[in-house]
Point group: C2
Chain length 336, copies 2
Amino acid sequence: MAGASIRDVARLAGVSTATVARVLRGTTPVSDQLRERVTSAVAELRYIPNAVARSLSRGRTHLLGLLVADIANPFFGEVARGLEDAAVAAEYQVLVGSSDLDAGRERRLLAAFEARTVDAVALTSTAADSAEINRLAATGMPMVFIDRRPADVPAPAVLIDNEAATHRAARYLIELGHTDLAMISGPRSMATAAQRLAGFRRACAESGITVRPECVREGHLGAAGGEAAMREVLALDPRPTAVLSFNNLLAVGALAAVRAAGVRIPAGISLLTFDDMPLFPFVDPPITAIAQPAYDMGREAAAILLDALSTPDGVRPADVVLPSDFRIRESCAPPR
Amino acid sequence: MAGASIRDVARLAGVSTATVARVLRGTTPVSDQLRERVTSAVAELRYIPNAVARSLSRGRTHLLGLLVADIANPFFGEVARGLEDAAVAAEYQVLVGSSDLDAGRERRLLAAFEARTVDAVALTSTAADSAEINRLAATGMPMVFIDRRPADVPAPAVLIDNEAATHRAARYLIELGHTDLAMISGPRSMATAAQRLAGFRRACAESGITVRPECVREGHLGAAGGEAAMREVLALDPRPTAVLSFNNLLAVGALAAVRAAGVRIPAGISLLTFDDMPLFPFVDPPITAIAQPAYDMGREAAAILLDALSTPDGVRPADVVLPSDFRIRESCAPPR
DNA sequence: ACATTCGGTGTCATCGGTGACATGGCGGAT
DNA sequence: ATCCGCCATGTCACCGATGACACCGAATGT
């Protein structure tokens, strides 16, 4: 039950622990005879090397820390999966944690990652507190941001061109004829939110459209926040004719609010959102969305991290900007 | 950069490492003066105890292994989140891995868990190979299954009453007037699939309805499998008037096939599925679903594991059967 | 024939904490 | 005053694997 140790194997094979290690890791040559004795001893004892001991001895855990806002959010699930697939291919495992965008929880998670000496961390969530993150980065821990990065942290990021993507989406609405647009945005402190809002504003400005201040809602993230924000938007007088949502959860909440208000999409109001979901094509009406390549973002992030780990000289890797995909469906139409 | 060790702290505070440990873990009493010196040394050096070393020394990693079929699947995401929330409350972290229902990948994941000496594992996926799992269980590693369990493994499980839930759903369809039902099931080797199919069959049998063999499709899991299975069902002559889907992904695929075939739900065919999704209420038409309490399942699983870890005497915990929720929406109607 | 090299193997300190045990000092009981 | 006991603290072996180093014997070079 207790699991055999390398000493047990060595004893059974009549060799030293060093020889066992050598056979196992195939590093230095070992005579065929001893190799044979060792491998059969390993098999007989069902010996499994203790990764904890190895980690302590080698100073490497082969663990990647992944900090997300909420692993239950399909977007982060995809990211996690992409990261995991790249990680396992390199014999790494993934330690995940959800921060819920709570600064305290985020801090505890990072502290845990540090204490466990994960080899590198990927972050997709960030409660503003970048001091903590900078301290971790300063220890030399390879680090990569996904989807967003606090302004003052000197680490690479994997993201899409949020400004351009939002600009394009907003232009699409404007070309449809909308002149009174609203945006359900994220917390102002979030870099992504600022970028998307900027793209939105630029598109409006370029067409001489004024965005009413009350048409920009900085909702709390999550479906409930989206619902509340949409309720407020619908109550506006005049009511905006098109709404752009900052992410998938917000959109789900917005959808609920629209339904509850008895408003039809796109007849009564047009809706467009960041983050595609597998069911969007089947919603009534199919939802137009800006799809982020979540899986690839996770994979790229892992690639950056693994690369940094294998070449410790350490030039800071460049950001990776992935293409987003604007998927036009039927949730937007010209205003009445 | 390299991180201070307990010896550095001890040296700076002018005490022994044991005293530092005692101050940190608050176990045995330490004089105020020394406590003071130690805490300030800890602060000055920004000392963070090395969890790897502690794990090796104590034989506990405070790590829970979670094996899911696919962390990108929202159902498993919810499970993971529930498990995580319960875990962090007890100062545990979660190591996740996706098996993709691939026996080899599952085996490697379990081997990694074992090598890392996680304190316990939760499994929601199972490629039939239970020998491997039994071997792990035999080492005394606390273990819990979520959603499904291989028949011959003596470990507790957290699940819903699949047979009853499916029976109820099938009855609902029958009471609507359907007499020709189909089921898009999962792989026969999966216990859950067998149970759900049994409930389905019992409901039919009780009403004197014969289920045509070709109406039970054992699809490959995943949206693509669901689409293929549904395409086959739609091609049947006569075409069944109602279909019950084994899980959320299968349903998404089925939805796509129905759309592609130009068939209307529920007018042309009724659809009902296991696993609810946040967007189901907004789909055209809103999808009737059997909701599993995924988050709670994760939490219960963690509770069982943590309990087993804190009371090592080890009575085998009983299964936890959670209620499912049958959410009737509009995707089912009487047959024409 | 002797020095040199090298392949194959063992020894042991080390990674950072932990806890059993040893030690020393002080107060209270007799 | 003496002994006991307890509290506070230090010492050190240990968890399991690793790798630097030492070592031995055989093959090669001159």
